[in-house]
């Protein structure tokens, strides 16, 4: 290799090199309950709306049926917003990772 880092597992398999994307754990938590039609902003230092970050969200108490899909998470500069439009109140589990 001309530059960069290569990491091999004990069995000789190349597991990381200059083309790898290293997903890293930033944190996870559960929000307070969000009422229908409302949102919560979660502050994350350094977060951007770009693709070097990701937020994965799961409703804790979603309703049965199609309304269970009506929630969103949007990343912004320094925070992300979870919006609840499921028709019922629910807390949300979230996981924040850096992807670049």
């Amino acid at each position: 290799m001309a530059y960069g880092l290569q990491v091999y597992a004990a069995n000789g398999t190349l597991i990381m090199d200059v083309s790898s994307r290293g997903a890293r754990s930033v944190g996870n938590a559960r929000t307070a309950s969000i009422t229908n039609g409302s949102y919560i902003d979660v502050t994350v230092s350094g977060m951007t709306s770009g693709d070097n970050w990701a937020v994965y969200v799961t409703p804790v108490s979603p309703p049965s049926g199609a309304n269970s899909q009506n929630y969103d998470s949007v990343r912004n500069s320094g925070y992300f917003r979870i919006s609840n439009n499921m028709g019922v109140s629910s807390a949300f589990d979230y996981i924040v990772i850096r992807t670049g």
Binding site: L14, G22, R30, V57, S64, N67, T99
Partner: protein, 248 residues
Amino acid sequence: MMTYGIHILNSSGRTILNSDEVASLFYAGPSGTAVADTVFPTSNWSGTRLILARPSSTAVGTGTSFENGKPQLGVQPFSAQWGPSAQGFPSTSNNNGGGHVVWRELKAQSTASLSPSGTGLVVYDGLGTGSSNILFSASDLDVFATLVASGRYNGTATDGGFRLYTEFTMDASLDQGRYYALMTDTISIAVSAFGGFIQSHYNFEFDYAAGKIRVLNYAPANTGDNSRDADWAIFYLTNGGSVDDNFS
């Protein structure tokens, strides 16, 4: 510019590891095989878990149109079950691979109680040298998942009707059986529409014959938002061992 520590970039300028971040790399932890149309995983999951999954085989079932028999993987959010599609899902009712998925759990190395030993590079977060301070341990990456694609459910390509998608192409030189989709933040539900039950998806459809994974953004117009704001991810198990050597 950092004054000390380690910062590794890939050839695209993205950070692989940065000791300033206090953000630990993931490794692929426990794995298993689950029947696709029952509770999965059996213990449910919480915010601390990232669950990866893939079909257990390349088999394709019967089906047409939107429910085409290709395995679609996603979560039924209100029951933590896999979506009960009759056709677009691995199930025993449509000859679709026996109805099983292989799953893995991604864990941060800092939460995995690792005890690095022997040879290899170990990077700590600067706050200590305990297992919770590990950002990267080369000696504990025998099963390692690397992110190969990520994005948002805002695909605009369509194959007709309400199925919008973004398409990911698997590397033909790699093992298709090691591509996993992140199940956390997916949705797969059956909804009543057009006089019958159809599927509503924000999830993944595996097409091994074409070497594609479609990130579906599919919601019938009369049942929900067709442009959900949420993130998705596809991982590749770089060193999965026997669990991932079963695609022949």
